[in-house]
């Protein structure tokens, strides 16, 4: 399988690693090695076993079979403390943050700086600020972490791992929710660490990142390591190794004929968060919203859907005004929202796949208070198959699905809801290339049937590839609007960073179509 030369100094090597869970073989013989000062990318479909592999290196799981060698000595890593002693630090796919605590408290969880036996608050804040500056994230050490939003939580996780001064840094999909700007900052840090001799295991579903940051790639398929190739391997080849077939077109957008406006947002304002946001989404349209982290995109989406309130402005669905702050009314009117934070807002982790997939349609599937369970099961099975959710059955607890498969469940339950206007916030976070195409196809069929999609994504190629129109937000305002034809990486980024000097969006959009 792997064809590395034994001679080269290795910091870490695993052989024939196996791990089973009730009903699932998660890893079925994985070989993998890591050299000092390299970035080793782990690639594989959702559920291929990437996270399971790294959890055995971080002491979260014990392998059923196989060997782990650190510095050429066979080792067993039984706990997080063991891993820390060996110099292994891990950034998990699902964050390890305590939402109620502050940023600083989270950064130094379990090991706060002490003075006379008491927590030295001042030093903790100062150290936290230094760490935050290092990763370049705009967050206040005293801020409660739950209020940060997914992207900045990710950056805090990265800062936390950096503070451990590890020899081996494992990063499980750190870029899944970051925009280009943050990704670049992260890459600069990673390169710097690599040059200092730190070894990095890097998991990503964004193939274009691999040649930028990686040295070698190990491909996992169905729990087996199937190849080890250099990072400059062409993307098509990587895809073929990963999914066993090639993918024709990553963004198969088929434009539909446009209809009347389904969603109208007029002068939406929440003081201090977003201001005077106005736009329309027409039937048959996919409208993307781009912007930097913290631009207020998620906040606007939640306000439209009634998840949060707003101070001024109106939301109209098919011409009818929507009551603010009322999710149920928004749903009745035909809105849907796939939230960015699947763990906090999207899923009932302790419930099974069927239950989660049926949550949005539960009301509709109930007659006289009784749930049509056969119908719910049939629909759940259908969408799970369509999205290729890798599971042992509809009864599997969602908590035990892989990250990408959890995300498919969040999307799936809303695809079943048949919303007239579906708002997607980071819809493909952590989803592999093959399944993404399937989701895009489903977006196409939504718009073809006269529905509309409003898509927020930090993945700019995705926004550009799938949107008919791109709105760009900066610092809580709409900075501009670009037609699909004129929207490019550069034009969008120019708007996103320029911000809004004049207060009205239109001036900054040189020549683009404005409402």
């Amino acid at each position: 399988m792997t064809e590395t030369s034994e001679a080269r100094g290795e910091i870490l090597r695993v052989n024939g690693l196996r791990k089973t869970f009730p009903g699932v073989v998660a890893l079925d013989g994985v070989d993998f090695d890591l050299r000092p000062g390299e970035v080793h990318v782990l690639l594989g479909e959702n559920g291929a076993g990437k996270s399971t592999l790294i959890k055995m290196l971080s002491g979260a799981y014990q392998p059923d079979d196989g060997r782990i060698m650190v510095d050429d000595r066979e080792t067993s890593i039984r706990s997080a403390q063991d891993a820390q002693r060996l110099g292994i630090a891990t950034i998990y796919q699902e964050f390890n943050l305590v939402p109620q605590l502050t940023v600083a408290e989270n950064l130094f969880l379990g090991r706060p700086p002490k003075r006379f036996g008491l927590v030295d608050k001042r030093r903790m804040t100062a150290d936290a600020r230094e760490l935050l500056d290092r990763v370049g994230v705009d967050a206040d050490p005293g801020q409660q972490i739950g209020t940060l939003g997914i992207a900045r939580m990710q950056m805090v996780e990265i800062a936390k791992a950096l503070s451990l001064d590890a020899r081996v840094l494992i990063m499980d999909e750190p870029t899944a929710v970051l925009t280009t700007t943050e990704v670049e900052k992260l890459f600069a840090i990673v390169r710097q660490l690599r040059d200092q001799g730190v070894s990095i295991v890097f998991i990503t579903h964004h193939l274009e990142e691999i040649p930028q940051i990686g040295d070698r790639v190990t491909v996992l398929r169905d729990g087996k390591s199937v190849a080890e190739v250099p990072a400059d391997t062409p993307q098509e080849e990587l895809v073929r190794l990963m999914v066993g077939r090639s993918i024709e077109q990553q963004y198969p957008r088929e434009r539909s004929s446009q209809g009347p406006p389904l969603l109208e947002v007029r002068g939406l304002t929440r003081r201090g968060v977003f201001e005077n946001v106005s736009f329309e989404v027409h039937a048959g349209e996919v409208v993307g919203i781009a912007g930097l982290v913290g631009a207020g995109r998620t906040e606007v989406a939640r306000a439209i859907f009634g998840a949060d309130g707003y101070d001024q402005g109106n939301v109209l669905v098919e011409g009818a005004r929507l009551r603010g702050g009322d999710v149920h009314a928004a749903m009745e009117a035909g809105l849907g929202l796939v939230p960015e934070d699947r763990k906090g807002q999207g899923l009932v982790l302790g419930a099974d796949v069927q239950e989660n997939l049926g949550l949005v349609t539960l009301g509709r599937a109930s007659h006289g208070g009784l749930v049509d369970r056969a119908g719910q099961r049939k629909r759940a099975a259908g969408i799970a198959e369509r999205l290729n959710v890798r599971m042992s059955g509809l009864r599997q607890e969602v908590r035990t699905l892989s990250g990408g498969n959890q995300q498919k469940v969040v999307i799936g339950k809303w695809l079943l809801a048949d919303a007239k206007v579906l708002i997607l916030d980071e819809p493909t976070r952590g989803i592999d290339v093959g399944a993404k195409v399937e989701i895009y196809q489903l977006v196409n069929s939504l718009t073809a049937s006269g529905h509309a999609v409003l898509m927020i994504s930090s993945d700019l190629p995705e926004v550009l590839g799938m949107s008919d129109r791109v709105l760009v937000m900066a610092r809580g305002r709409l900075a501009g609007e670009l037609d699909a034809a004129e929207a490019t990486q550069d034009s969008v980024m120019a708007l996103a960073v320029a911000g809004v000097e004049s207060g009205t969006a239109h001036d900054t959009v040189g020549g683009s179509n404005v409402r």
Partner: protein, 330 residues
């Protein structure tokens, strides 16, 4: 387990569904194993345990706790807690007896009024928790005081005799079918049905599992919580009437402390106080375990002081085992 895990998956793709359902059944029902062990141990230790009379006795003893616990199951499934059920049971029973005797209401009407009182108490709990944003612990603790106080006020502190027609509810039909046991089983089936089959039941699991996700999925969380606490109140009223009919009189101090037994039964039955888990069957088993333990300790003439110690230890053990099992599967 909810009734739906028992149900076999249809479809040929789920061939081993039955096997999986069976193993899941036992994995999720540690309490059932405990019950079996308890029965075996007690019948070995005491000759009079495994007799029809005694088992019927256990059933009757379990009935009130079980009915209260069924109601509490709804609440705990939504990650709430209800400390008022014992007091609400007493209040409902007192109202029932008082309206039937002092006020001369026909007995069916008196039952309806009692049920209404229970539901009303539950609705007030729910309103305090949803609209008033009080923590469930506080809201229901307050209700405990209010309900107990009202029961004392109405009864002026002394028991009120129940009319005969109602106290028949405490009888045993043809010497093998105690009515309290029938009521318990019926309420258990209602609970299982509500949890597994109805919109409200499924919503309870979602709310308990992740309230924010439930809200963002369009579930009317406020309304569902009101329903949940109203159900607990209604079940408490039924339990109160069953208890009173066994004694042929409604006592304002009746059922005090029963809320803790009810909560213990729910938790022993595998529900999680953090919500999202809980089944009627588990609760039923939990209530049986508590009743058998009390009964067995009595048969073995263990002093009631020591009984409290033993029951405390059993509750701790049940929850401990449960958390250990959960940790090992994660």
């Amino acid at each position: 387990m909810s009734a739906d895990t028992l149900q076999k998956q249809a479809g040929p793709s789920e061939r081993n569904g039955a096997v999986r359902a069976a193993s899941r059944f036992f994995a999720e029902n540690g309490a059932l194993g405990g019950l079996v062990i308890l029965v075996v141990a007690l019948s070995l230790m005491s000759g009079s345990f495994l007799t029809v009379t005694n088992l019927l006795n256990v059933g009757v003893q379990a009935a009130v706790t079980a009915i209260l616990a069924f109601g509490v199951t709804f609440v705990i499934t939504t990650a709430g807690i209800d400390l008022s059920v014992g007091a609400v049971a007493a209040l409902s029973a007192v109202v029932c007896a008082w309206s039937a005797t002092s006020e001369g209401l026909p007995w069916p009407l008196a039952l309806v009024v009692a049920l209404g009182v229970g539901i009303l108490c539950g609705l007030v709990n729910g309103a305090l928790i949803t609209y008033g944003k009080l923590p469930p612990f506080i809201a229901t603790l307050a209700m405990q005081g209010v309900a107990r106080g009202l029961a004392l006020v109405i009864s002026q502190g002394s028991p009120i005799a129940l009319p005969n027609s109602i106290s028949h509810l405490g009888d045993t039909i043809s010497s093998y079918l105690p009515v309290p046991v029938i009521v318990m089983v019926a309420m258990g089936l209602v609970t299982a049905f509500v949890l597994a089959r109805t919109y409200s039941g499924r919503a309870m699991y979602a709310i308990g599992g992740n309230e924010e996700a439930a809200r963002l999925s369009g579930i009317k969380v406020t309304r569902q919580k009101l329903i949940t606490y109203a159900l607990a109140g209604g079940f408490a009223a039924v339990a109160g009437i069953v208890l009173a009919s066994r004694l042929a009189s409604a006592t304002p101090e009746a059922a005090s402390g029963y809320e803790l037994d009810a909560i213990a039964a729910v938790v022993i039955g595998g529900a999680s106080l953090s919500g999202g888990k809980g089944t009627a069957f588990g609760t039923f088993v939990g209530a049986l375990i508590l009743a058998m333990l009390r009964n067995g300790l009595n048969l073995l003439s263990v002093s009631s002081f020591w009984q409290q110690v033993v029951i405390g230890v059993v509750i701790a053990l049940a929850v401990l085992l449960d958390t250990l099992r959960r940790r090992s599967t994660n």
